[in-house]
């Protein structure tokens, strides 16, 4: 007789584990905090792939700390698959031998320990991904068996409200649950009625009310008081030489002070350039507080968010024409969708970096920190699958002298990828370097690939205090390198620039100085900022923005 092949091993395994766990789980899937370690020991087996919801912002910190308390003879050698590992507990799991392998996208404050643990053999690195790439692998070869997730509220049945900071939760739960895995949620509160259901109870196996609210980091709050005059100069150059030049309507802004300066200068310098209604109408962006003045002045049609931002809840809820607001009246962020839009749909990514090499490759990696880049590479690249056109995308593509070498006469656009940097960073460290520290990191941490955030062929513009290098207009590598040298100032790379070559590049509009662009350096003062401090942001918001305590100086 032919042996009947068993097709439900995954479900059976899950059922066995849940049977062992059942004594910890009460009505409405509720687990008492004191039982959580026992529950984890019951449902997790050695070598399992486990996701601890570690987002850019909200963190399943109670579950992470609870996992650290399991009996190591029962639970060990786990393979962690998660977006970010910013909590000390995430790395403590490796120190304790509970976890062994890591596939992730962003290291944050633990980047130094990631590097150290790899070197010491405590952590086996799978790969450093982008968010989308990792999400993709959740549905391919890195599906979690158990996911420890994080929500604001649960109701008595186990439905979850992830609300403002929904972030990665849907993608994690969908991948886990639809491969018959186990989903355990920590929530700040269990309530009778949720504002809305973000995750249905049927996809959740256990809910624990965390003894304290989950940790969340206001990562995207930039205090306007800290914006410098050189950042304002760079913002002026970007607005005039790129935003206005290409009429960029859709974009993502990176996290640094340059983009904060740009946001705060939309109602002033941007208005003067006549960009309202043309630029920044569609954005993929967390709710940056520094966007408030531009939003109030009617610049923006829509913003979809990867995550939330502490203090922006009420303001965002009060601007439903701009943000993606649910029927309950609150935002739902979603990293997977925002990253998809950021990869395929936007015309421009603009952000900063720590280092740029002579060919235009850039990285924020330093020699002893395995940080990863989160979503930046997906936005800071030309999406090859893009098939819709917009004027900015087409114009940038049309500039590429080498396009014809590859696809003949066929028109095709190109994403604008802008790196805005000062030629020297803090402590007079040069931004333009012969070799990225990413090489040293690869060597130190034993990673085969130097972690590059944005490859040179994707970068279309470099903005420094010396001017803009329009790399999209360079016909070959020599021209590209010369253009980079021309804006690299007094760095060793910049000193290689030949005055006559730079002159030629300026005439060809491949390099433009502030003077070439008609940007008056003397106007680069803080007077151009629509809000100069947190207090003024609050005023712009009509009192709706409530800055986190650490950002308040009144």
């Amino acid at each position: 007789m032919k042996t009947q092949k068993k097709w439900d091993n995954l479900a059976t395994d899950t059922a066995e584990r849940m049977a062992q766990a059942s004594r910890f789980i009460g009505n409405g899937k509720r687990v008492e905090p004191k039982d959580i370690v026992g529950l984890l020991e019951a449902v997790i087996r050695p070598g399992d792939r486990v996701n601890i919801e570690g987002n850019n912002q909200k963190q399943a910190d109670f579950l992470a700390e609870s996992l650290l308390k399991v009996d190591k003879s029962k639970v060990h050698d786990l393979h962690m698959v998660q977006s970010a590992v910013p909590l000390a507990s995430h790395l403590d799991l490796f120190e304790a031998g509970i976890a062994k392998k890591l596939d992730f996208a962003f290291g944050g404050p633990q980047a130094g320990r990631v590097a150290k643990f790899i070197k010491e053999g405590k952590l086996e690195l799978g790969a450093i991904h982008t968010y989308l790439e990792l999400f993709g692998r959740y549905f391919l070869d890195l599906t979690p068996k158990v996911s420890l997730i994080c929500a604001y509220e649960a109701d008595r049945e186990g439905n979850l409200y992830t609300g403002f900071n929904t972030e990665d939760t849907p993608v994690i739960v969908e991948a886990t649950k639809f491969r018959q895995g186990i989903v355990i949620a920590q929530v700040n509160k269990i309530v009778d009625k949720l504002p809305r259901i973000d995750i249905p109870a049927g996809w959740v196996d256990a809910v624990v009310e965390s003894p304290r609210p989950f940790f969340i980091e206001p990562l995207f709050t930039r205090d306007p008081a800290l914006i410098t005059e050189n950042q304002i100069l760079l913002a002026m150059l970007s607005l005039k030489g790129i935003y206005a030049e290409y009429n960029v309507s859709s974009m993502n802004h990176g996290i640094g002070f340059l983009t904060s300066a740009i946001e705060l200068m939309l109602p002033t310098y941007g208005e003067e350039l006549g960009l309202r209604g043309k630029c920044c109408t569609h954005m993929i962006l967390n709710p940056h507080p520094t966007m408030i003045p531009a939003i109030e002045e009617g610049w923006v049609d829509t913003i979809h968010c990867f995550g939330g931002e502490l203090g922006m809840e009420k303001y965002v809820a009060a601007r439903p024409d701009v943000f993606f607001i649910g029927p309950d009246g609150t935002l739902r962020s979603n990293r997977a969708f925002a990253q998809t839009a950021g990869h395929y749909a936007i015309d421009m990514f603009i952000g900063g970096t720590l280092q740029i090499d002579p060919w235009g490759n850039s990285s924020t990696a330093t020699a002893n920190r395995v940080a990863g880049f989160g979503g930046a590479p997906n936005m800071g690249c030309d999406a090859k699958g893009r098939r819709h056109s917009t004027p900015a995308w087409l114009k940038c593509g049309a500039e590429l002298p080498c396009m014809e070498d590859q696809i003949g006469k066929m028109p095709r656009g190109k994403r604008l990828v802008v790196q805005g940097v000062e030629t020297f960073g803090e402590g007079r460290e040069p931004t333009f370097v012969e070799e990225l520290d990413a090489w040293a990191l690869a060597k130190n941490a034993g990673i085969e690939l130097p972690p590059v955030m944005i490859y040179g062929d994707d970068v279309t513009h470099i903005v420094t205090e010396e001017g803009i290098a329009y790399l999209s207009r360079c016909k070959d590598m020599d021209t590209r390198m010369a253009a980079i040298q021309a804006v690299a100032g007094y760095t060793e790379i910049g000193l290689k620039a030949k005055p006559e070559t730079t002159r030629r590049l300026r005439d060809a509009k491949i390099v433009q100085t502030p003077e070439d662009l008609g940007v008056d350096r003397n106007r680069a003062t803080r007077d151009l900022l629509a809000a100069k401090n947190m207090r003024e942001l609050v005023s712009w918001s009509g009192g709706l923005y409530e800055p986190p305590a650490r950002f308040r100086n009144w």
């Binding site: 410098t228 020297f424 402590g427 100032g489 350096r521």
Partner: protein, 104 residues
């Protein structure tokens, strides 16, 4: 350990701009500097004195200030700088601002 003092001269190829009166600009914050710019009969050249806790950037100072003097066509001026690790971008910005102050 004492402070590092760097003194040099630079000359613009077309020195036509001078300052009428001594001016002071800037604050020696972290990563910032202050500048005194005063008229000085100096055969068309610009005398520069930089006082800084940071060593090893002598060539950089010569280049940055030299380029400023050249672009501004500055001559017969003395420039005194107290620095606290300012980047070339900040140095250039403050030099421009000081000169603008002198013209005001």
């Amino acid at each position: 350990m004492a402070l590092n003092t760097l003194e040099f001269e630079c000359k613009s190829t077309a020195a036509t701009v001078a300052v009428a009166k001594p001016v002071h600009f800037g604050v020696v914050g972290s990563g910032d500097l202050e500048i005194l710019m005063s008229p000085a009969k100096n055969d068309g050249a610009v005398k520069v004195k930089v006082v800084t806790p940071v060593t090893g950037f002598d060539d950089l100072w010569r280049r940055v200030v030299g380029a400023f003097v050249e672009n501004a066509k500055l001559g017969n001026v003395s420039i005194e700088i107290n620095d606290n690790n300012a980047t070339p971008a900040v140095v250039t910005l403050r030099l421009r601002q000081t000169l603008a102050e002198a013209a005001a």
